[in-house]
Symmetry: C2
Subunit: 255 residues, 2 copies
């Protein structure tokens, strides 16, 4: 028996604007790509277009930095207004160095700059704006799943991904910020391996692995391919969402 996973970045997703119905845009792109959605497909959506559809833009001119933001901005050599937004979006500052502020986002992800983005944003140099992460990525994934079911007649798995840096390693990888329909951690703990040994640590973070896989085909510099259809995996349905991927603070050895 072999196994096969196909990742198809959809052509034809238009530039997303606040208020756009992502489910409708994706349903149209699937049809234009001659793809019929199946219930075991995973629709992977780049965080950036979810944020745009949800109008998570923020004009820096409207932000008044507080004393803590001014202080951190000096340490990190960043725009104090951006730092103010980073702090508002965060629970805890984890590390500060020149050029980088790593925080625990209010949704629990440890993320540089609270995931606030300045690239691929249509912005006026005299009135710059930035794009925050969605209010609640798991809720956005659930809503998109319902929307796709309404549009296409089947409810696929949905995953919202973003690129993030890691401890110990260079480069960024796609990570799962929100998901709906499938278990983000395919739990095999307690199973036996081929030789009857009890497996010790074998809980793969499938949602993160899928987020990374989709990121490969989404590309990085162009915003043209922010939706990927992943087909071929057999995932476990589950009640847990992407928040299960967050290691509880007291069990985290690396803060």
């Amino acid at each position: 028996m072999s196994a096969r996973l196909e990742l198809i970045a959809l052509a034809g997703i238009p530039r997303v604007e606040p208020g756009d119905d992502l489910a409708a845009l994706i349903a149209r792109a699937l049809a234009d790509n001659d793809l019929v959605l199946r219930a075991d497909d995973v629709v992977v959506v780049a965080q950036k277009i979810v944020s745009k559809a949800e109008n998570r833009y923020c004009r820096l001119a409207e932000v008044e930095p507080g004393p803590r933001a001014l202080d951190l901005a000096r340490q990190a050599d960043k725009d104090p207004r951006l730092v103010e937004l980073i702090l508002r979006e965060s629970r805890e500052v984890v590390r500060v160095r020149p050029g980088v502020i790593i925080v625990e986002h209010r949704c629990g992800y440890v993320h540089a700059n609270a995931g606030i983005d300045r690239s691929n944003i249509h912005t006026d140099p005299d009135d710059p704006r930035v794009l925050l992460l969605p209010q609640d990525c798991d809720a956005s994934a659930r809503a998109l799943r319902s929307g796709l079911e309404a549009q296409c007649g089947v409810a696929p798995h949905v995953l919202i991904n973003d690129s993030a840096g890691r401890a110990w390693r260079t480069g960024t990888v796609g990570l799962a910020l929100g998901c709906a329909g499938f278990d983000p951690l395919f739990n095999q703990i307690g199973d036996s391996d081929l030789f009857g040994n009890r497996l010790e640590v074998t809980e793969p973070a499938v949602a993160d692995e899928l987020a990374a896989a989709a990121s490969l085909v989404m590309g990085q510099a162009a915003e043209g391919l922010p939706v990927v259809l992943a087909r071929g995996l057999s995932l476990r349905p589950a009640a847990r969402d992407a928040s299960a991927l967050l290691r509880p603070r007291h069990m985290d050895m690396f803060r």
Copy 2:
């Protein structure tokens, strides 16, 4: 334009034994799966079968734990002989907690238990043995690439992956331990995005993303699918190998 990546876990890779010629085994499995290797394919191989072919087994009965291993074994509640091997395979102990020893492996990866494996190893309960990581995964990847070129007439990209835990997040993901033929970090720093903004941090760790993608189809509990053909990406050839994915010690904020 759409983009498409296909990951095919090869059926028919036999149980690997010390001294086996992995290139020959893979070439045969490709033929049996009616696949003709292309120069832009990536052949992803699970670390475990590389270690087995290179006979990186170690009988615990032959290991004499030193005083440091005995002390650490008490702290971590682990077999002192296993801890002795972990220390021999490492440059630095990063964290110790009951049940876990996180080290910097001598090749630079920050890895629990130095990547030493006890699962999926055919072992006698009265004479247990473990499996160490390969001596040098980048060298193993280069050798496998040459071997595949000799067998198949084209030199594909090669990637050796393993599953590992992360800071901050639960579950394991596939990571790149060694690679050959392609640039593990597709460097777009300095490019402009769709709107002419200069991209700030956009160096995706493509080798790690591919390692994660392949891990999805390799499965975890069964050793049946340790080789994955990844087809459809356009990767940059490069002189750098997987060691470029290791963040230099002095730039690492999370030790």
